[in-house]
């Protein structure tokens, strides 16, 4: 059974804080192993990658096999059914249409002092996307990572995807092709992250690495951060549903289970202003769990981390939701827009009972790579901006420098940075005829 809480309970605050603080994920300390793997790939390049792939993915490859050939990609894509391909194409089209709107504007203006100021955005030159192998090898994640990169204008986009025992997922290859990925490598783990960051004989280094992965991948991303840019470190998935009694308990139940089925460490929470509705949802979850394919995973997540919280009113629900800062927030209430306006911290909001979170995982358009573990308090889902960087621009005229230069000189002196001041003073002296001209 999930945790049942009510804001009218005398010990509610204590129990709520305990729920928030629950440690859902054991991060095994793999840092030393990962450091060794990275050092090995830096020192020995392809040879190290090949050895580590033999060890971890039980697959002997040659340097020529590290990268999927066009023929291999073609052959694998041919195994994808027309229906699956069509669904991927619809998804790609909608994801692209959403992300195109994120392309930022350049600006340039001249201010009253005569200084021309602005900025411009440019794409990173090369990005690498990590795609997990095995069970969690999701073609939708390929679309969600690759499309923003291509919309940003990244000219070179590489994917690494391990193929344990040599088994590749044709849908992943198809998604990569639809998204316009330029290079696909059949490697994974910390060795793939190291190869992307530092390069090998076969793999040119990239500037930015994104994508989810296991503890080894996450530790490797942390280690190469600085050498390259990385996206956030993803934790287990979360959904928070705020629902009033005018909902079908079964809809809410499957929505809760749609995140619980990802991972035993996932967390699904219902907040409702109607205790009886909460009970009905709990019953509906139990019923669905009887037959769900992934009931072992979903059932454990629901029992360990699931929660049903009864509140006095929806304002209270919005406040509690902000304390969770959930990755996914579903608002199944009469006026979801009004409730949404009261929420500040959430990765993605799904408005109304006809917007199940899963629609956002695949096809709505917004990115499904979202901040977990309360990090929506300070970070955002993946976007086009993650594959771009901004260069600021400053252009002074002699007049502008004469106007604002003295204040800069004064501050340089206050900070005891003499050469800073001199670099302004040298120009001001010229303008004042102090030196020559």
């Amino acid at each position: 059974m999930p945790h049942f809480l009510s804001t009218t309970d005398r010990n509610f605050e204590e129990r709520f804080v305990a729920l928030l603080a629950m440690k859902r994920e054991d991060s095994p300390d793999v840092d030393d192993t990962v450091a060794r793997i990275i050092a090995d790939v830096r020192a020995r390049g392809d040879d190290a990658v090949i050895e580590l792939t033999a060890k971890f993915d039980r697959m002997q490859i040659t340097p020529q096999m590290i990268r999927f050939s066009d023929t291999e990609i073609e052959d694998l894509c041919a195994q994808v059914s027309a229906e699956d391909r069509a669904a991927l194409e619809v998804a790609a089209e909608r994801i692209r249409a959403y992300h195109v709107r994120q392309i930022p504007d350049d600006q340039m203006w001249t201010d009253p002092d005569g200084a021309t100021l602005g900025w411009r955005w440019s794409a990173v030159s090369a990005a690498g996307l990590y795609v997990p192998g095995g069970l969690a090898s999701y073609p939708s994640s390929v679309l969600m990572n690759a499309i923003p990169a291509k919309v940003a204008g990244v000219p070179r986009l590489a994917i690494t995807v391990p193929t344990p025992d040599g088994i590749a997922n044709p849908l992943v290859l198809m998604a990569a092709r639809i998204a316009g990925v330029d290079e696909i490598y059949r490697i994974g783990g910390a060795q793939a992250i190291a190869a992307l960051a530092y390069g090998t004989e076969t793999i040119a280094p990239v500037d930015k690495i994104t994508g989810p992965g296991n503890a080894f991948v996450a530790a490797a991303k942390r280690r190469v951060f600085g050498k390259v840019g990385i996206d956030m470190i993803a934790g287990p998935s979360e959904i928070l549903v705020i629902a009033d009694k005018h909902n079908d308990p079964d809809w809410v139940a499957v929505d809760l289970l749609s995140q619980a089925e990802h991972d035993e460490s996932a967390q699904s929470v219902l907040i409702t202003d109607d205790a009886a509705f909460g009970e009905a949802v709990a019953a509906a979850v139990s019923k669905r769990l009887e037959t769900l394919e992934r009931r072992a995973i979903a059932g454990k997540s629901w029992a360990d981390f699931g929660a049903i919280i009864t509140v006095r009113d929806l304002d209270e629900a919005a406040d509690l939701s902000d304390r969770f800062a959930p990755e996914h927030l579903e608002l199944c209430v009469e006026d979801p827009d009004a409730l949404s306006a009261k929420v500040t911290h959430a990765g993605a909001i799904f408005l109304g009972a006809y917007t199940p979170e899963a629609i956002g995982d695949y096809i709505a358009g917004p990115n499904h790579v979202l901040p977990t573990a309360r990090s929506a308090r300070f970070s955002s889902g993946l976007s086009v901006l993650d594959f771009m960087k901004r260069t600021t621009l400053t252009k002074m005229t002699p007049h502008a420098l004469a106007t604002i230069g003295p204040a800069a000189e004064r501050l340089a002196q206050a900070e005891s940075l003499e050469a800073h001041g001199l670099s302004v003073r040298a120009r001001l002296d010229r303008l004042n005829g102090g030196i020559d001209e």
Copy 2:
């Protein structure tokens, strides 16, 4: 003497790569110490902070003294000269005017399938700015960190600034007051980062931490990343000047020295299409170094990491600059706009001989917190966006769900995520009259 290179040298590529790869900074391994400090502050709060402050800053304080009182701030600000205060106010005004333009737009639209999509931005609830103590305690950095946060709309903005031996920098307090900082704490080091991230009895935790610091501060920021957001880890400063022969060698010389004087690990590079001009700049640097206050620091930086590179033409200069991806790029050439358009990777560009980089350190308006160590390839200077996060919004109508839902269901099946598919199917069945209504 700096390194002299020319693209016509037979071994140029080799020497250029060596120059790029030079390790300028020894990062002492302070990770274990920092881990202990953080654990101590988490466990013992104010008591730990007070003990560590006594140890590292040689200053015995009480819990009441951790935060600067209004009276103390008032008294310290009264020590600032009217001229310094006026210069800070001019700088603050210009920095604010620039950053206001970075406030991002919210968007919301309905697409042809009837799905309403969009996003909205919101500020983090609380931010903490680290300000170094001692020599590198720069009021300009307070403005550059605090103003974007306040422009973003951060309601609670805290500063930590160590005051070794009890000595506070009045200009730092004044800058904080001008920028609208809400709380100022007289602590520093890893203990300050831990207190901001986890909170103590006196200091409420924040969601985002920015600002430069020494190796302990940098290691602590890396460790608390995930619990809170952090900005980039700043490395030693860099300037790259591209200048043709129609420049005053002395101007370029002081510009190069304005970064060299920051730090023995700073790097100043001139790229010119005229070898004689390069020699003249080298001579001018030597002359300035004879009298410069910080000549010990600047001279060592220039000798160890300084470089003058002669190129065949300015196109070659732009290419080499992109390989440096410099923090600061000055374009002292006849048509700086045309040359700027050929550059892709730079933190900030300063256009024309009347735009010394130092004007950007203080007063031009763009942020002076910029990517170092080649990270301009994938990251940007500090901005209003660093203190905001984006929530994506999705709202389906029954019609929209009926249109795009089946593709989502198909992809869920392809990924073996049954509950994902069921959450869509449950709604589709209702719409099709398959279950009830």
